[in-house]
């Protein structure tokens, strides 16, 4: 188990920049999820950590050792591929024991380890069978087994649940997290699925277009997103964005938008441009008769304890996750009330979150 330290890591392919100078540290024993849309550079970063790609620039330290230019075979890490990459010409047992056989361990030790790992993953009954006929879940377990058996310094997983059915994915998600709690291995997990990331990660690193946008706990990236992209990518249904009009100065606690004024946390910066964007999660908008913005109900989704109400306002279509005490119907005119302490204001040009009480309260926690 080890800490992974990444400094100014860059990767370019000719003109194309896949990863742009990112720096971060993955703590020992942490479940670190790299999240982003496809092509954002998360997999390339992972492959550089694994030694499958040579960085254009930057350093990778693994357990305090510079491994930037070491081949993967000398890094002592385990990699779980999206397509599992189980060797088709070997049985389950041979697949799982492969890394140990490479190391040339004695047969007795290997048998013992295989026994241990296969018991933990509940695939003991499959050891003698080939990998061709396995279900995707069992294949996933075999791939995990092959990674676990090594007790490597770190586990790298490239969308390991991407090839599974939705139903099974939730189950594997849970299993993976439980497994991690048990073995406490440093894990770097790449996914484009924000729900997976939110439910498993100790910390999430969100990337877009080769850049790291934010690194933080699931709560942090959800409550206090650093950019508009992060805010929109994390959470479902996604955050509402309302265009603000005009700039504001430090100390302001409201932003005027089309159709009204929205109260926001006290700003700690002047706005750097003449436009801004207010970000409000659906659960931070309530229906009320005295609401600061009014609009016509476009649609209602009944969700048991709550209702998801879509409202057409002068500022665009907004979604509110309201309680069910007052059911509304399509066509009703309703007012929307915002929870001022939870709203995020982004700069309209750079789309960066503007420092406010929201972030200050975070640092106190």
């Amino acid at each position: 188990m080890a800490e992974i330290k990444i400094q100014n890591l860059r990767k370019t392919y000719g003109e194309f920049t896949a990863v742009e100078g990112s720096s971060f540290t993955i703590n020992d024993g942490e479940f670190f999820v790299m999240l982003g849309p496809s092509g954002c550079g998360k997999t390339t970063t992972l492959r550089m950590i694994a030694g499958l790609e040579v960085p254009t620039d930057g350093l990778i330290h693994l357990a305090g050792q510079d491994v930037t230019y070491n081949p993967g075979s000398q890094r002592d890490i385990a990699f779980v591929f999206q397509m599992f990459a189980l060797y088709p010409h070997m049985t389950v047992e041979k697949n799982i024991s492969f890394p140990l056989r490479v190391q040339g361990l004695s047969r007795k030790v290997i048998r013992q380890k295989v026994d241990e790992v296969s018991t933990m993953l509940q695939i003991k009954h499959l050891l003698k069978s080939g990998v061709g006929g396995l279900s995707s879940g069992d294949r996933q377990r075999v791939a995990l087994g092959r990674a676990l058996i090594r007790e490597a310094k770190a586990f790298l997983m490239d969308e390991p649940l991407g090839a599974l059915d939705a139903e099974f994915r939730d189950l594997m998600c849970e299993e993976l997290r439980l497994l991690h709690n048990r073995v406490k291995a440093t894990t770097v997990y790449v996914t484009h699925d924000q729900i997976e990331a939110m439910s498993m990660a100790d910390r999430i690193c969100i990337m877009d277009q080769a850049n790291v946008l934010q690194i933080g706990s699931p709560e942090e990236v959800y409550q206090r997103p650093a950019t508009k992209f992060v805010a929109g990518f994390v959470g479902s249904p996604s955050m509402n964005f309302i265009e603000g009009q005009g700039g504001f100065t430090k100390g302001t606690a409201q932003v005027s938008v089309k159709g009204g004024v929205i109260p926001v946390p006290v700003m700690h910066e002047d706005s750097s441009s003449q436009t801004s964007i207010v970000g409000a999660r659906p659960e931070h908008i309530a229906l009320s008769d005295t609401g600061s913005i009014r609009g016509e109900v476009f649609g209602v989704e009944y969700m048991g304890a709550r209702q998801l109400v879509t409202v057409d306002t002068p500022s665009g279509r907004l979604r509110a996750r309201a309680d069910n005490q007052h059911r509304v119907n399509t066509g009703d005119i309703v007012g929307l009330d915002f929870d001022p302490s939870s709203l995020v204001v982004f700069d309209g040009v750079s789309e960066r979150a503007i420092d406010s009480d929201l972030f200050r309260s975070a640092s106190n926690v």
Binding site: A50, A85, H89
Partner: protein, 317 residues
């Protein structure tokens, strides 16, 4: 729709279409089998039966052709043969009926051995080089890759015999004429382009993840090639080997041109088997029959490898 007995999927053949297709295939197989059956039948005929007209379909089978193929004989007077005492073997007896005695083995075994050495030698070389080249082209960034691949392919754009004269002159200068090495090199050169292209297709289909996984687990690139890629290329290598072997085994024109003694292969030798009063057809047919066997044997042996993709199901695409 109610009276339709079987539900068919879109694009699936109806039972009647399938029966007709099967009948066509069987008919085609029978037609292509005729020359082969003819050759095998002739090999068991006596010289007289083999050239009788109309051709005999029913005849007394004899092994005379095979005996003639493997031996050299000389004609003797009846008195001389009577003086020899008891025949030493059934072959001896067979030959004596024609007033001949066996004077020694023929050169067929030597020619057949040449064919084996040259055929398998060139196949091994072509497939070995082809496998490495295919892996390189498939996995590495090779400068001018497309041009190189086209260049390799372009060697097949003319019939090899078109360069027979330059090769003949080159081989004479280099001392490669009528040597097994020369023939191996020649057949390898012709086959390697086919091998590279065929095998590259097979390597391309093996997902990169296998090797990457093996490399992360501690293998070097070469080790992962040996232990991970090569086993998965088995069917491709088997198929390529058969194609290369068939070419080298059957090649006639260059063999006729470049070999005459030491390194002569079976194809130019077999039709030159002269009996009394012209070609000894049963012996030629016997030679051809024996000559076909290795290819039949290997094709049957490798048929599973040829038909089955062993990577099936291991990777979800």
């Amino acid at each position: 729709m109610v009276d339709k007995p079987v539900m068919l999927k879109v694009g699936e053949a109806t039972p009647r279409a399938r029966t007709m297709a099967a009948a066509l295939v069987i008919l085609y197989a029978l037609i292509t089998m005729v020359p082969l059956v003819w050759i095998v039948a002739t090999s068991f005929k006596s010289p007289g039966d083999s050239i009788s007209y109309p051709p005999k379909v029913i005849y007394d089978p004899t092994l005379e052709g095979y005996v003639n193929l493997f031996t050299t004989r000389s004609r003797q007077t009846a008195e001389y043969i009577d003086g020899l005492g008891e025949p030493t073997s059934w072959a001896d007896e067979l030959v004596r009926k024609r007033n001949m005695v066996i004077t020694g083995p023929s050169r067929f075994i030597g020619r057949f051995t040449n064919s084996l050495i040259i055929g398998f030698g060139s196949t091994f070389l072509a497939v070995f080089l082809g496998t490495l080249a295919a892996y390189g082209f498939s996995r590495f960034k090779v400068p001018f890759k497309d041009d190189l691949l086209f260049f390799i392919l372009s060697t097949r754009m003319m019939p090899p015999i078109a360069v027979a004269i330059p090769i003949f002159l080159m081989y004479r200068k280099l001392g490669l004429s009528d040597t097994a090495l020369g023939m191996i090199l020649l057949y390898t050169a012709v086959n390697v382009s086919l091998a590279v292209w065929l095998l590259k297709g097979f390597v391309d289909e093996i997902p990169l993840e296998y090797e990457e996984s093996a490399r992360v687990d501690g293998y070097s690139r070469l080790q992962s090639f040996w232990k991970i890629v090569l086993p998965q290329m088995r069917s491709g290598i088997a198929a390529t080997s058969i194609f290369c072997l068939i070419f080298a085994w059957n090649e006639y024109a260059f063999a006729l041109l470049l070999t005459s003694g030491e390194a002569q292969t079976a194809p130019p030798f077999i039709p030159s088997i002269i009996g009394e009063g012209g070609l000894d057809w049963p012996a030629v047919a016997a030679g051809t029959t024996i000559f076909m066997l290795p290819i039949v044997f290997f094709t049957v042996l490798l048929r599973n490898q040829l038909l089955r993709g062993i990577t099936f199901g291991a990777v979800r695409k």
